[in-house]
Symmetry: C2
Subunit: 709 residues, 2 copies
């Protein structure tokens, strides 16, 4: 499948990534820009003076002198940047950028050791301790990110280099599947050499290390390398790493004790086993535990292996963990990770709105996981969750200027609380320039730059339409190609047309997702000839297969078939399961896939005093000027006001001088009272899409608003 996006909403983001974020991050990685790097939470050990990421490679490559600076996983910033750059190069040939990226690949190659080992921290700082503290070392995590970047770069540059690559110089073995074209061969050579070094070092065989990385990621990289090269060893190794989790729970701590005992990342020795998903053998895990990004990366790779092998037992584990996340541990914004401590999942229905983590990377990982689940089985809910995470938490991770980023994505923010309550110090009120742990911004860049890969899926011979992004996809079958185009102005409009041009000899089934949020959907099917001219209109049933698992399938015969759909985009009220104690008595407003929120700049301070009556109209209007163009939802609501009588404390009001029989209204200052302050004033409550919040300076924000009966 090859997909090209040409969508109003997404082109803006893709251009932001290409023209602003990639050049911006390049300067950050080179310490060539004057910015304030913030710590993502209150932790003195977070390195935040500079990035130093490119300099680390120069030192490891022998081109420069000095010490490594930054996290042990600082290399991955460069890799994710390279991967994002690769995706943009795919659609926008850019010689200047490619000159830089080719040089980066060369630099990485020079930093790689002869053995194939690649990690600047250990090469520079602790060359005798490679693979000896895997719980914290992130060596394989970084390797995974490099491999992902190399595969992307290889594929991206293939199109306009076209030359024969150097596969024969690698040990990648027989090429069974995947792309035959070869682009920048050096990136792939480095990746293969690195993967082979890892394969030679880890595994069940005697003499190899029987362990895996503390942070899942290498498995994703190995699967991508397998898909590109067809080399089954890489998939086997990915599966080994996955199944090794929980087999030897003391592995990380034992390695640590037997090695230096010195922590490169403070506190990791003492974290619970769940943090690493090693509390139980992977096959026995059925809840989402520990560090949220790690968990979804693990599941992404596991689902990929399950889909690639058809292994039903692995698929069953994926389904169990998916169910647990989606039914019990996910925010309405598609955020995951209920606590900053360990950036982790906690327990079922525990979804605090103001102390949570909801890391941008975790929602990105959830999107990766959903995409792989769609490869296992075509269920609309996977795409529902993908869409929810994409249009809400993932996009909220970046400011509209493409140069400021959130790590943590709260559902409720009061700026003074973030400043003065250390329990909420990780909840930033505006997006920082850059972050001490800079995992999120480049992760988001690579997602946006490759968003085309999430729109369509293959399900056997079927084609699935998951997202309504204006685009054209071509799939080649043995007997011809099928082109599917989506015409949409989504999520601004609910009107969508899916055009299928079938040049194969038979019919092709196309499943169009009916979003879980959709209230009313109208549709019609138009069948045309191969010029696209409509020759028949069918109201539906005779040409439509039954809806299955959230998709409506159409059998598209030769020529052109157009499915016209209209989703009702009227704003809707959403309620949480009563077991979510934090959302009791509250309502969340959404329009289509977008969750809305109220900001202080539109609604004044103390948003918790606002209530939306349960029967208030939710009026929606497009505002072209606001926040780059957004829908705004307004409702006639009320604001609780404090009665004058209660406003002063009892000392100020002299209420402690009571006469006999007189009752003080405030038993204790103005803080606790015997009577409720039951006054309300009418107010217009104004809401904007969640992804666009915090683009107008520091102010309050709330997703869940009180509902008044």
């Amino acid at each position: 499948m090859k997909t090209v996006v040409n969508d109003t909403f997404w082109n803006r983001y893709k251009e932001l990534v290409r023209t602003r974020m990639i050049p911006y991050q390049w300067r950050v990685l080179n310490d060539d820009i004057d910015i304030k790097i913030e710590k993502e939470r209150n932790d003195a050990s977070i390195p935040s003076e500079k990035s130093h990421a490119i300099e680390n490679f120069k030192i490891a490559a022998g081109r420069s002198k000095g010490e490594h600076y930054g996290w042990v996983f600082q290399d991955s910033d460069v890799y994710k940047w390279l991967e994002a750059a690769a995706y943009t190069l795919k659609n926008h040939p850019d010689k200047e950028l490619m000159k830089i990226t080719d040089e980066v690949v060369d630099l990485i190659g020079d930093a790689q050791e002869k053995s194939g080992y690649l990690n600047t921290y250990f090469t520079i700082m602790e060359p005798d301790h490679k693979y000896k503290r895997l719980g914290e070392s992130h060596e394989l995590y970084c390797a995974g990110h490099f491999i992902e970047a190399a595969v992307a770069y290889h594929e991206a540059t293939a199109a306009y280099r076209g030359g024969v690559g150097h596969m024969e110089t690698t040990t990648a073995g027989d090429v069974e599947t995947g792309h035959k074209e070869v682009g920048n061969s050096r990136a792939l050579e480095i990746a293969v050499k690195l993967a082979d070094h890892i394969d030679a070092s880890f595994g069940p065989e005697e003499g190899k290390i029987h362990g895996m990385d503390g942070h899942e990621e290498i498995e994703i990289g190995l699967m991508k390398l397998y898909h590109l090269t067809g080399e089954k060893r890489y998939m086997k190794l990915a599966e080994y790493f996955l199944l090794q989790r929980g087999q030897d729970p003391d592995f990380f701590r034992r390695q640590f004790r037997e090695d230096t005992g010195k922590e490169a990342i403070g506190g990791l020795y003492h974290v619970p086993l769940t943090y690493f998903q090693i509390h139980a053998p992977l096959m026995e895990q059925d809840t989402a535990e520990g560090h949220a990004v790690r968990l979804v990366y693990m599941c992404t790779a596991l689902a990929d292996v399950a889909a690639s092998t058809g292994n039903e037992e692995l698929a069953a584990v994926c389904r169990r963990i998916w169910r647990n996340i989606v039914d019990k541990r996910m925010y309405i914004t598609g955020g995951i990770g209920s606590t900053v401590n360990g950036e982790s999942f906690t327990l079922d229905y525990d979804l605090p709105n103001d102390t949570m983590y909801c890391e941008t990377c975790a929602s990105i990982g959830l999107i990766f996981f959903a995409r792989q689940m769609l490869r296992i089985e075509p269920k609309g809910e996977y795409a529902d969750v993908m869409e929810r995470a994409l249009y809400n938490t993932a996009l909220a991770g970046m400011a509209l200027d493409g140069r400021h980023f959130f790590y943590v994505n709260p559902l409720e923010v009061v700026p003074e609380k973030s400043k003065k309550d250390p329990t909420k110090s990780h909840v930033k009120i505006v997006r920082p320039d850059w972050l001490g742990c800079a995992c999120c911004p480049p992760n988001l860049a690579r997602l946006i730059a490759s968003v085309e890969d999430y729109i369509y899926s293959e399900a056997g011979r079927d084609i699935l339409v998951n997202l309504f992004i204006k685009s054209t996809m071509v799939r080649e079958y043995e007997d011809g190609e099928v082109t599917v185009s989506i015409d949409a102005d989504y999520p601004k409009s609910g009107k969508t047309a899916v055009r299928i041009e079938n040049k194969t000899s038979g019919a092709v089934r196309v499943g169009v997702r009916i979003p879980g949020w959709a209230k009313k959907v109208s549709r019609k099917v138009v069948v045309g000839d191969d010029t696209g001219k409509a020759i028949q209109t069918a109201a539906g049933k005779e040409r439509l297969a039954a809806a299955e698992d959230g998709f409506w399938y159409v059998e598209a015969g030769a020529g052109v078939t157009v499915i016209e759909l209209e989703f009702d985009m009227t704003p809707q009220r959403w309620y949480a399961n009563p077991l979510v104690s934090e959302d009791t008595g509250k309502v969340s407003i959404a329009r289509g896939p977008q969750v809305f929120c109220a900001e202080g700049v539109d609604n004044g301070e103390n948003l918790h005093l606002l209530s939306i009556p349960s029967d208030a109209d939710l009026e929606c209007s497009w505002n072209e000027e606001l926040l780059g163009g957004v829908n705004v939802i307004e409702a006639e609501g009320v604001r609780e006001i404090d009665d004058e009588a209660f406003k002063t404390s009892y000392a100020e009001a002299g209420r402690e001088t009571r006469k006999e029989g007189e009752e003080a209204a405030c038993g204790q200052g103005g803080l606790y009272r015997k009577k409720k302050a039951e006054s309300w004033e009418p107010v217009k409550i104004r809401m904007i899409p969640y992804y666009a919040w915090a683009n107008r300076g520091p102010n309050e924000m709330r997703v869940w608003l009180r509902e008044k009966e």
Copy 2:
């Protein structure tokens, strides 16, 4: 004033302290008991293997060999234990206990260095670093606790030793005020020698250290030593330490950098200046900031100095900080400290019920502060807050068995959240045997053992009745004594009689507090002759001065005057200021001074599903069998139940297979829905006093319950 308590409610606690807690803690301090010491929060650095506190003294005294173990302030556990023991000895002569306490005093004396310096950690571990890292060292903090203990022990043992002390061997100077009898003279000798060593080491004079301790406490000890000995140097030094706060904000960090740079308490170098109350000169502080215990200890000493000197400027600072706490930063239970991070205050109206700290010690310190404020000015609200903190958070710090203790006193607990959400790991679900930082249990012991000191106050010639604890107090005037007795069965009953027997030549004014919580109060005054026989009954006005500042005063002439009062103890609903977002839509039930709570053991799981209708009767009944005898409040309430239709996730219910026009009830699994689950079932909601919670195994608890209109 000398007061003897003989009260049903308090005798039980005092006996628990005397017969269980003091012997129990003695064994803990000697590591002579098999208990589980828990960390008060998830922090690997907390020493929790043993107490070692007595052993530390033996090592410092040269009687034993080894290293110091435990916190740098481990000594204070012994001092607070000694102080509590002293108070019990006052009322219960106990030769066996006094043999032990005398030996402890000797041991402490032997551990004191010749210079007067006393601190086992620095004597054993870092003898060259005394007073060089005051931000973390707790040297003066420990000294303050020893001085408090020594004063208490001196006073307690005076009564039945009677002998002449050794004041002449000390440098205490002129004895101007206070007790002339001398008890165990060695305790006081050690204290004076220690205080003089501190006085010689600190102060504005050249050559002295211009600084103070990171944790306020020495100031309280010095003021007590001043009250006992009349030596003004001690008060002057206390005032110096107080006013030094914020004068040189870099002092602690500079000392640290110039000394070893090695932290004995991890992380203290990086805490904000507010933590130590050094963010601004003390005279300019007007909000309660930083570590809650430190803040209230600071205010206790400041109010003591203000009351003892009549310094209005100091009193004004006390009043400002008091107002800020009581009007904006105090829980309805009298708990303070809204966050575990830094065990600190946060900001106005920020009172989360499930992540707060509310340390037992902080409420005890608030009681100390209130008592000193009553010395500055007779305002009922000081006693209101004292009572609120005493009957709720302070008492909740100890289990009914006197052997298990809370450090953190939440207003909302879900056991699974404490177990699985690290953000709530400090919120224990049952009281541990003992705590790694064992400040709270002995602090509570000394408070309970000396509760008589809080019942009455002197306000010039007036006598104030602050608390309704059955007791007798004798105050000596130049021309005779006045005896005030309280007859009460409080808080079980609202009936109270205050009997004043005036043997002086004139009238004495007695102010009886009218509690801020009281709805209706009925009263009558009976005047008797000196046999106590009633000769006249006045319905009030002619004998009662006007109510002033929360007290009703009576002019008690010669002979006996009895004021009979009855407070309406009908359960009441309390509401929080609307600015407290966490309590929106919620109600708290109280009876008299006692806040009530609902526990899972009485009400089932998921207490957040319960609502009390705003018009439901609150029925109260005494249950002699339950929890050592408590009032139980019951109300006909409702429990939200989840409609069957919503219970299963959408995958389980197969809802993703939708037909055209059919709307999914659950857009996303069972977690988020388009319709509210609006089903309720009637339930009897049962509440018990807050202080008695968590005495029936692990279960949920809530103070603030939802209110249904």
